[in-house]
């Protein structure tokens, strides 16, 4: 009996207590977003009311966010930008990864080095010259500016991740196809790519969430309401002067997080696989 109780105490201290604290710490900000977004201003700015629960829930913040701001437009922009930059990154990533995984060619080491170097260049190093170049090209305030620049952040790890998946395809399969007369390109598209679906899903999810996440380039390149993405729109336009519209801000933060969270929840295993294989930027 005492032994059993001691076992329980140890398990509580070694498992449930640290786990519980971690989960609460990790999730509290989301809980706070959700309940703040459901509160009336009256309740929000009254310090006498217990703030941890909602007393008079209202959807007014959501209605205002959707009818009075360009939130839906930002969501659409974010989606388009994320989809296109992910597509570009997957195609270019695969074009880099396949030869590196399978073919011995002069300059392969140089290409790998270039990919690693690109991977390690932090964005703040490039934003000043890029801002100047984007302006000179007349791409300021266009979605093209971010659709072109996001892949520079995404291609290196897409290539890295896909490289690992390409290497798992048995080379006997490719040899057999080549002996049967398939060209290298046909071998790639008909044999290798179909076998690497999970790799493309992992890389794609990563690229997509990172593209949704990006802030610095969007902040600099997109200064007009109609081209903004959700993160920039929320920071730049839901704060008017010094006035913070907390209810709307929290509604925007929650709605902006939901698409990513849903996609993530469907592919969590792929996501974790990619995370642990590629050790993504973070």
């Amino acid at each position: 009996m005492t032994v059993e109780r001691r076992g329980f105490h140890i398990r509580f201290l070694k498992l449930w207590l640290p786990l519980g604290v971690s989960v609460i710490f990790a999730l509290f900000p989301f809980y706070w977003m959700a309940i703040t977004s459901l509160k009336t201003n009256q309740e929000l700015y009254n310090r006498k009311i217990m703030p941890l629960v909602v007393h008079n829930p209202t959807l007014k913040n959501y209605v205002d966010l959707i009818t009075e701001t360009s939130f839906l437009e930002w969501t659409w922009n974010t989606f388009i930008v994320a989809v296109l930059s992910t597509a570009i990154s997957l195609i270019f990533g695969a074009m880099l990864a396949y030869p590196l995984a399978r073919i011995r060619f002069a300059g392969a080491a140089l290409v790998s080095f270039a990919i690693a170097a690109t991977y390690l260049v932090p964005q703040p190093l490039l934003f000043v010259p890029l801002a100047d170049l984007i302006n000179k090209l007349g791409l300021g305030d266009t979605l093209t500016s971010v659709i072109l620049t996001y892949p520079t952040l995404l291609i290196p790890f897409c290539a890295w991740l896909l490289l690992g998946y390409f290497r798992t395809v048995p080379s006997e399969l490719e040899d057999a196809a080549r002996i049967d007369g398939a060209s290298r390109l046909q071998t790639l598209t008909k044999i290798v790519l179909p076998l690497c679906g999970p790799g493309f899903i992992s890389a794609g999810i990563f690229a997509f969430t990172l593209a949704q996440n990006e802030f610095l380039y969007a902040l600099i390149f997109l200064t007009k309401t109609e081209v903004r993405t959700v993160p920039v729109g929320a920071v730049a336009e839901l704060v008017r002067g010094d006035v913070f519209y907390w209810g709307q801000l929290m509604a925007a933060a929650l709605l902006g997080s939901i698409p990513v969270a849903i996609i993530y929840s469907f592919f969590v295993e792929h996501y974790v696989a990619g995370l642990t294989a590629g050790s993504v930027k973070g």
Partner: protein
């Protein structure tokens, strides 16, 4: 194949040029594949990098042509007390956040490496801070740490731990830095924990059995089995974490914009202020580039210290 082509192939030691066959040569095929993405990256990463170096040598206001000023921008930064504050802030921020993420992430990974119900669900929930757009979750933190309506202060006051009105989390220079570090840890810790957990799961239980037979206790097993085998994973995760904490922008921009009184300015936010706020592209580019030497040194030092053994 026709008789003529056979004959010509026999007549010449080298076969006639065939585009199809040329494309099949490994070197040609490989370079045809990698050239478009390599050009793309050269145009949008390589070229801007060197253009940035050139910009940093110019006096270049936003709307005017630049004039060459040599190293003036770097000398200005050297003589600028705010710049040195930025250097110090960046190191404090990076060191504190990385150490906390490393220790906390390793701890959480060890906790998660036990068997318990709903393990996958817990793992998915713990990763949420890492996958949700950082700016949006940071806005939530800004509200949690609000000077007037902070829920942290409400809790502290309600439990009698502090007096009204409670600390100003983002208004006091030291607390502001501490708050930024906490938010950074909140965001980055799951990445450490989940990656290290995956590393832990690859360690064979037989090694622990062998260590136990050899008389190792819990600490001994951790010190002589877990840590050495986890070193390569710790190395990679820490390298990424250091680089991107060192160059962090969005979290600080949203929470404090470098304030109060430059107490939380880091390289990225300061370069942004100078280049975008002040319109001095040359000076901004120079400040951004000063990140390169310390970053390179940090990576080198870590590579030497944590170097995964090749055997």
């Amino acid at each position: 194949m026709t008789a003529e082509s056979l004959a010509s192939a026999a007549a010449h030691p080298r076969p006639a040029f065939s585009l199809g066959r040329w494309l099949e040569r490994p070197g040609v095929f490989a370079w045809l594949m990698v050239t478009p993405p390599v050009l793309f990256l050269l145009a949008l990463v390589g070229y801007p990098f060197f253009y940035g170096i050139w910009l940093s040598l110019l006096n270049r206001p936003v709307a005017a042509e630049g004039t060459f000023v040599g190293l003036d921008n770097y000398i200005n930064a050297w003589n600028d007390p705010v710049f040195w504050q930025v250097v110090l802030n960046t190191f404090v921020y990076t060191a504190a956040a990385t150490l906390l993420k490393m220790a906390g992430g390793l701890g959480l990974a060890l906790v998660m490496n036990q068997n318990f119900p709903f393990k996958n669900l817990t793992r998915a929930l713990l990763l949420l801070p890492f996958i949700v757009p950082t700016v949006l979750s940071t806005i939530a933190w800004q509200w949690i740490l609000d000077p007037a309506f902070s829920v942290v202060n409400w809790t502290l006051i309600a439990t009698g731990l502090v007096e009204q009105p409670g600390p100003s989390w983002l208004g006091n220079p030291h607390l502001a830095m501490a708050s930024l570090i906490v938010v950074n840890v909140w965001r980055g810790l799951p990445f450490y924990a989940i990656t290290l957990l995956a590393g832990l799961q690859t360690i064979s239980p037989e090694l622990y059995e062998a260590a136990t037979i050899d008389g190792a206790g819990t600490w001994g097993r951790f010190r002589y089995v877990t840590l050495p085998l986890l070193k390569p994973v710790i190395f990679i995760v820490t390298m990424f974490s250091v680089i991107f904490t060192f160059a962090d922008f969005q979290l600080i921009y949203v929470l404090t914009k470098g304030g109060p009184a430059n107490a939380t300015h880091v390289f990225a936010t300061y370069a942004f202020d100078i280049a975008m706020g002040g319109g001095q592209f040359g000076q901004g580019a120079a400040i951004a580039l000063t990140m390169v030497p310390p970053l390179a040194l940090l990576i080198l030092a870590m590579a030497l210290y944590l170097k995964p053994s090749k055997t």
